[in-house]
Symmetry: C2
Subunit: 399 residues, 2 copies
């Protein structure tokens, strides 16, 4: 049995990590430049956007992950450094170099991330000034979670401890993301630090597997960003015996890493632009896991389902229409529950108390369970309701 | 050169067709049951929803089209007769039989369509009473377009005349659709009548081809309905020499049929739930037509693009992010125009007058032109903006 627990902490809680944030004047009076720093070079794993219009830092970060080692991550908000041509690439590289010089690191061990408006160049004088103000001793660790936000309303952090071969290993995660959320790999910016000792290829495999059922299963608006990235740094400072493949320790660590990713993913869905509710859709009884996940994501991404839930309307017709839209097989035997109330059995409506269920749909978390009775595989997806506020935010958040 | 022109008319304008509508008490005080009737059996072509949760009438109509001949189409609104199990199928068949008896037709020549709320059974006593009130002599032809509406704000009709081998052939179309619009074949209900003489297999091929670039290229909310259908009836009463494949007449008739489908499709997009603007996206310079259409549809379906246009924001970043999301190839040389203003050249931002373009985005029709400079193929898609009203309609239109 995995021994793990959630603790109060932040991205710098794992041994040998520090974090900091500063105001580089990219945003108005808000933190907008953040740093995660490891005392020693760490194994790094990453997953990246599949959008063909990828931001300038994405290629740079792919090279860092290909090298297998990272010691720092520098992140700016407000400007995405996407669709910025050669100048954008130059600026990303310059940011990497400035940060490496400041902390005496190998530049190829520095990941660079940006999020914000597409098509604007980074003001490099401001970035340089901001970097000069960052420090490994500020203890301004919680600022990092704040510095990476754009239209997010809340910071998103989670920290767990897990016992690995008698040692306490800490895993901390932080992310941002509220709009342009429909990851086809990973969502927006997600950073995870751990003091676990684990080889890089193993960490990468683990992350790639976990991403499929966590970050890739959330959607806010169906749009995949140009900047999506999730990076994990493991610096080995917990001094555990190295985690090897297919051992109990491997399972324990993977379980916690998956929980961290899932917690972060759910926080993004719950803080979706304009959202008033988190929606969780569980699909069971599917012939294969991929279908289950696809169907779950289709339901949670349907504008009609999202608006119905905003209106506290148990409109199951929209749910099963969404199922039928992407199912590659017939679905004559669907059993559907909304907030635990059975509304459909054998794909046929059953009587339920409409008013009572509508009342239950006013809760902050809405759960939809769909059993397809056509196999043993399952999948879950998370999203949020579609509200007036979503339209307001995106009609008024001008380019 | 094709000689054709738009005329004032309705679905009963082609020779040998009549139409009628009545109030069957499915809706409150509105027409809700419509009939299209041909004096003689007509060649019938159809395309149907790909949603695995298809409405009860869909299978019945597939059988009619497989038979190749139809003489009448009976349509009710308010209730979709979808997810209604065996009882729903029985009710669709009963509707078919009642209509056939009333007008002395072969039941297998009667198509039955429904649109409205999912999961409710048709009240067959009301349907029967409604059918008894329908008549081929009422001359209540415009009522049909009204009787098939649900959340639509306006009726959608178009009529053209075209000269085929010295004879005047009339083609008329009518459709409905406002929400759950993201056809993966055809959208909602679309009916086209013509007095042209053309063999059924040829008509079916023509329709199947045309659908791909017309009805299948519109999206309102990304949701494919359970009831989508487009039916074409050709009764030959124009007395033209039969239209044969690959002739000039064939091209002329196909051109007009395509225009009718495109006009109807655009009317649906413009009347999308809550819409204030019609959006047209033209993608050129693609390596293949399918990619061009897919990219055009992705742009026009993006919630972020749709809200930006509602807010009159020339947010080209969201447009090219949508391109990158579905392009299967690199896109380093995009040339993007919004309302005719160049905003991106060689995938790099160019200076433009933001205020002036924002003013242009307040027009009722917004056109986005994206040249990928990566081939010779093109595709167009139509949609609408995403507004507060869309959320209101779908949060309050209770199941």
């Amino acid at each position: 049995m995995t021994k793990f627990k959630a603790i109060k902490g932040n991205i710098a809680s794992p041994k040998g990590f520090t974090a900091d944030a500063t105001h580089a004047e990219l945003k108005f009076q808000k933190l907008d430049l953040g740093l995660i720093l490891s005392d020693v070079p760490a194994a790094v794993a990453g997953v990246f956007t599949t959008n063909k219009v990828a931001a300038a830092p994405i290629d740079l970060d792919k090279a860092v992950v290909a090298g297998g080692v990272a010691q720092a991550i520098i992140v700016n908000s407000a400007i995405a450094n996407a669709v910025t041509g050669d100048e954008g690439i130059t600026n990303a590289k310059k940011t990497q170099r400035l940060l490496a010089e400041k902390f005496d690191l190998n530049p190829s061990h520095v990941a660079v991330c940006s999020t914000g408006v597409i098509g604007k160049q980074l003001p490099m004088d401001k970035i340089a000034l901001g970097i000069s103000k960052l420090s490994a001793e500020n203890g301004h660790t919680n600022g990092f979670a704040e510095a990476i936000l754009t239209t997010d309303l809340v910071t998103k952090e989670v920290t767990y401890e897990v016992e690995i071969a008698g040692k306490t290993v800490t895993v901390a995660g932080v992310c941002k993301g509220s709009g342009m959320i429909h990851p086809n790999m990973a969502t927006m910016l997600g950073f995870i630090t751990t003091d676990a000792k684990i080889a890089q290829p193993l960490l990468q495999n683990m992350l790639s597997e976990i991403i499929e059922t966590t970050f890739n299963q959330i959607t806010v608006d169906g749009d995949t960003s140009t900047n999506d990235i999730v990076l994990v740094m493991a610096n080995g400072q917990a001094d555990n015996a190295e985690i090897l493949v297919d051992t109990e320790d491997y399972q324990a660590f993977k379980t916690v890493l998956a929980i961290v990713c899932q917690d972060l993913a759910k926080k993004i869905a719950a803080d979706g632009e304009g959202a008033t509710k988190l929606i969780e859709v569980n699909v069971t009884g599917a012939p294969d896991e991929l279908s289950a996940r696809l169907i779950a994501k289709q339901i949670v991404g349907s504008s009609l389902v999202k608006t119905a839930i905003f209106g506290a309307d148990p409109n199951w017709g929209r749910v099963i229409s969404a199922i039928g839209q992407v199912a590659a097989f017939d679905v004559p035997d669907i059993e559907l529950e909304i907030q635990g109330d059975l509304v459909l059995l054998h794909s046929t409506p059953v009587d339920f108390d409409q008013a009572e269920l509508s009342e239950k749909l006013k809760e902050k978390i809405v759960v939809i369970d769909a059993d397809l009775n056509n196999g043993t595989q399952s999948g879950t997806a998370w999203g949020c309701d579609l509200t007036y506020k979503y339209v307001e935010i995106n009609a008024l958040y001008h380019s």
